[in-house]
Amino acid sequence: MNGNKEFQKKIKRAEKTAYIAMLFSFIASVLLLFAVFDPSFSIFGNKGTKHIYSTIAENEDKIENGIHIRTGLIDAEGLITVVNNCTNCHSAKLVVQNKMSAESWNATIKWMQETQNLWDLGSNQEIIVNYLVTNYPALAKGRRMVLKDIDWYTLKK
């Protein structure tokens, strides 16, 4: 009888220890989950303020019809180097709007390094500039361009 009680006590104590261990491991895993998915604990209202207007998608290097989906950049030699070095601070939209010569791109890179915290690109600079001038060449516009892409419609009054 006595031995039985002792045994039951031991079982209960063991059960308690098991519960506590489970509780701790649960808390630890929740914290781990936060550390990975939500390091700034934004779920509790402390919003990770910096990048709320930024755009991020996973499966990040998907290419469709020759276009890198996440950035809209043309899939060609040097693409990933451009993505990795030129879309961290600003959008790729700023890159592709600008159709410049190699000289102008090199000057722009220098300006970004001097004033905008761009890092040294090393041998990647040539890859990037080649990609840009090949895929987004400058157009000759002259002193005034012809009106293009006119969307004709009937004006009703």
Binding site: M22, S25, F26, A28, S29, L32, L33, V36, F37, D38, S42, K47, G48, T49, K50, H51, I52, Y53, S54, T55, I56, A57, E58, N59, E60, C89, H90, S91, K93, L94, Q97, N98, K99, M100, S101, S104, T108, W111, T115, Q116, N117, A138, L139, A140, K141, G142, R143, R144, M145, L147, I150, D151, W152, Y153, T154, L155, K157
Partner: protein, 406 residues
């Protein structure tokens, strides 16, 4: 990101090991899950913009109107261009927001809460034309770097606030003051907290004008966040970058303000004219002050087809920086002949002016309607691109729309 997803997978599997059963939430985390705060936002909804606005850049946000969206006499928020240099500030508390006046040339450094500003100083409302210095940049050849604005980086809204002059005089201006510079709450794209994305300003003479105000309302409502809530400096007729958003500090300077985007090639043009593509040294670049004379046809939208024998009604706006538009003309024969069309007086100084007329076409065919404004100094818009400059500012070439008579 790869490293992250590896950690995610590792964590999920180790969780499974710890609890020794399937993770309920783990199995429900969809593939390609994006944390809520990072999901692709809809800028049209977020900023309450017309769906026909054109997004030039989404980091930072730069969005422009098309000419026909600017038909209102007072531009509504839905058609106002957005030009941002940094990351938009968040969680602005108007109760705790303050404006400080400091600098080498202020007599007493002072700090005002928004309610101080509103209660201490007289309120003024003006319709003020704000045009991005780079509006029309896309037409320059060789191309100029930056957002490739076409014609839609201009607006004229009603701004209400207190005169900057009244606030500066309350703090006291030393006799050696020459310039003011604003400081804003936006943050640098690189994430570097020591960097300001933009901090521009204007000579004291512009700062002391009646129409230079610290605005807390736009079109009789609180200023939308993206346009500078809760306080924006408004300096009409000058590059819109002088009208600093989210302003929390104004420095009265004893020299030309030297904040980011005041120096180098930013908002500057060659002091002397240069050939297209020519290299210009920084010291040979001069700060842009008043914007040049310009106009825009806002009705009809380009591409109108009408029947022969019917008149085409056109209308639009014209402005001239610090000056006024005194003459408005249009041409349907590529500038061979010009016809004067009536233009209204501005509702107040630095507000855009409205023109409208009816045009008859001699025969069927393809036409372009070109508009040309002339300012009080008899300076008119050029039909071709004006002087090339490294950053592609101040393109005030005539606006035109295509029309077909059938």
């Amino acid at each position: 990101m790869r490293r992250r997803s590896f950690i995610k997978k590792t964590v999920l599997s180790s969780l499974t090991a710890i609890i020794s059963s399937d993770i309920i939430f783990g199995s429900k985390i969809p593939q390609g899950y994006i944390p809520l705060a990072l999901q692709d936002p809809n800028p049209f909804k977020m900023f309450k913009k017309n769906k026909e606005m054109v997004i030039l850049n989404d980091k930072p946000w730069n969005i422009e109107a098309q000419a026909h969206l600017l038909d209102d006499k007072i531009t509504p928020n839905s058609s106002m261009f957005i030009r941002n240099n940094g990351v938009t500030p968040e969680e602005i508390n108007p109760e705790t927001w303050t404006l400080s006046i400091d600098g080498e040339s202020v007599k007493n450094k002072k700090t005002y809460t928004l309610s101080d500003l509103k209660s201490k100083f007289k309120h003024h409302s003006y319709n003020l034309t704000l045009e991005c210095g780079g509006n029309g940049r896309s037409e320059f050849d060789p191309p100029a770097k930056g957002n490739q604005w076409t014609a839609g980086a201009v607006h004229c809204a009603t701004w209400t606030g207190v005169r900057l002059r009244d606030v500066l005089e309350d703090a006291g201006i030393k006799s050696n003051a020459v310039y003011i510079g604003y400081h804003s709450a936006d943050t640098h794209l690189s994430g570097d907290s020591k960097k300001e994305p933009i901090s521009r300003g204007c000579p004291l003479s512009k700062a002391l004008q009646n129409e230079t105000i610290l605005a807390f309302q736009m079109n009789n409502e609180a200023i939308p966040l993206i346009h500078g809530y809760p306080l924006r400096l408004i300096a009409g007729g000058w590059p819109a970058s002088v009208s600093g958003k989210w302003v929390h500090r104004i420095s009265v300077r004893n020299k030309v303000h030297d904040g980011p985007k005041m120096t180098g090639t930013a908002y500057r043009i060659p002091c002397n004219p240069v050939a297209p593509g020519e290299k210009v040294k920084d010291e040979d670049m001069c700060i842009i002050e008043s914007m040049p004379v310009k106009s825009i046809i806002t009705y009809p939208k380009t591409g109108a087809t009408i029947n022969h024998g019917k008149a085409l009604n056109i209308r639009g706006h014209a402005w001239a920086g610090e000056l006024e538009v005194i003459k408005m003309e249009y041409s349907i024969d590529f500038g061979s002949t010009w016809t004067i069309c009536p233009v209204e007086k501005p509702i107040n100084r630095l507000a855009w002016q409205h023109f409208s007329t009816a045009i008859n076409f001699p025969k069927k065919g393809y036409y372009e309607v070109w508009a040309r404004a002339t300012d009080t100094h008899s300076v008119a818009q050029p039909m071709l691109l004006p002087g090339w400059n490294p950053k592609g500012y101040l393109n005030n070439a005539c606006h035109r729309i295509a029309v077909k008579i059938i």
